[in-house]
């Protein structure tokens, strides 16, 4: 069964039949985490790097921002029995339009915010597919922890992360 994660949303699951999916990542970033021992996983689709932009919005919907959404993603998985040290982390999205890197660079900032949070908290990114101009859809299979990224395009190329 597909569980869809919208923009600025998150889902966690321990149901083996679930495939958690988020559509059409542009500058946004999808973070999939998974504990293979208890088979608990979660997927977050955040839009912006820092809730300092609008703290009220950050409280209202923490999944809008990297700094408020990523900690919640981990905490919700812990509630289902996941343990930080076992977590496998995969990341996709953060695309940019063409042109100079110093403008329109929300995709890059989203990725930088994630790296900073992970470095501070000793979390390693297992695999990632970030940047470029591609539109991506991301899947997390709860039964296995497998993550796929589909590049939106004519032949819908799918890669396993």
């Amino acid at each position: 069964m597909q569980i869809v994660v919208g923009v600025a949303e998150m889902r966690v699951s321990n149901q083996h039949e679930h495939v958690v999916i988020t559509h059409a990542l542009g500058s946004c970033i999808g973070v999939a985490i998974y504990d293979p021992l208890v088979k608990v996983g979660g997927l977050l689709h955040y839009m912006l790097p820092d809730s300092g932009l609008d703290e009220e919005k950050g409280r209202e919907n923490p999944f809008m921002f990297a700094d408020t959404g990523i900690p919640r993603l981990f905490k919700e998985c812990y509630k289902l029995g996941a343990v930080k040290q076992r977590m496998l982390v995969k990341v996709a999205g953060g695309s940019q339009v063409l042109g100079g890197p110093e403008h329109f660079n929300i995709g890059r900032r989203n990725y930088a915010a994630l790296r900073k949070i992970f470095l501070k908290n000793n979390v390693l990114i297992g695999k990632e597919d970030v940047g470029g101009t591609k539109a991506r859809t991301m899947y997390l299979e709860i039964a296995t922890g497998k993550v796929w990224v589909k590049i939106i395009g004519q032949n819908q190329k799918i890669i396993e992360l």
Partner: protein, 294 residues
Amino acid sequence: MSLVPQILRSLKNLPPFPMVAQRTLLLLNKPEVNIQELVEIVKFDPAITANILRISNSAYFGLRREIHSLHQALLLLGTQELLKIIIASGATRVFAAPTPGYFTERQGLWRHSVSCGLMVDVLCRELSLPDKATGFTAGLMHDIGKVVLSLFVEQKFHEIMEVVEKQGVSFQAAEKIILGVDHAEMGGEMARMWDFPDRLRLAITYHHIDKPEAYTDDLILLVYLADILCLMFGQDLGTDGLAYTGYPEVLRHFHLREKNLQRVLLQFGSAWEEAQVLFGLMGQQDGIQRVNRG
């Protein structure tokens, strides 16, 4: 071999632009729109009247009281909002066919087009400009050329993508290289055939600001920026992804910093949720039939 003659030939079969939307477009340039004029245009089209009432009562406007009549809608929402609704509901037919060259989802182009119209509105509010119907309409129509060009892009997709990847140019520039014409030019040509107002036609033609003429009108720059922001937002992205050029001079022109863009995306997120009724205008065939029957 150039595909241009073949592509231009395909324009001969271009269906007329829906009449209600066409007549409404002509009102965009008028400084004052008489409510009676709008009523005259829509009153014989029960489907559009039904849409006006449905949208007026949706979360998009979030009014506290229920609207029961066209007159009430006009009084409470004002003519500019009404123009947007009429044009959006009137134009759906043009977007009805799938555009597999660009979108894997059947309604992808419609959804991207509505999003871009909404994004122009959100941008206008961030810039303290009035969010008039002209801006929304230009956003809604900017990619209309994709309706016709999709067929050709579908055939040559791999060649176009190869140019994007090898030469690092935008998808639009690659269309021009491979097909001899791009979706913006195509849209401009269709706008000419449909007698769109000049400002609207030029916004369509230059929305990727690949020519100096693009800088003659802020409307064009707003549509360009709204389109880019929609790509960044990500929902309903097409096969062309984000392969379009970001021009920092446009940001400078509007005194927009990155924080402003982030705020626009944040606000757009809420606007997008509330506007689901507009996305739903497509595929409401049974709704139209119900209205006609009764």
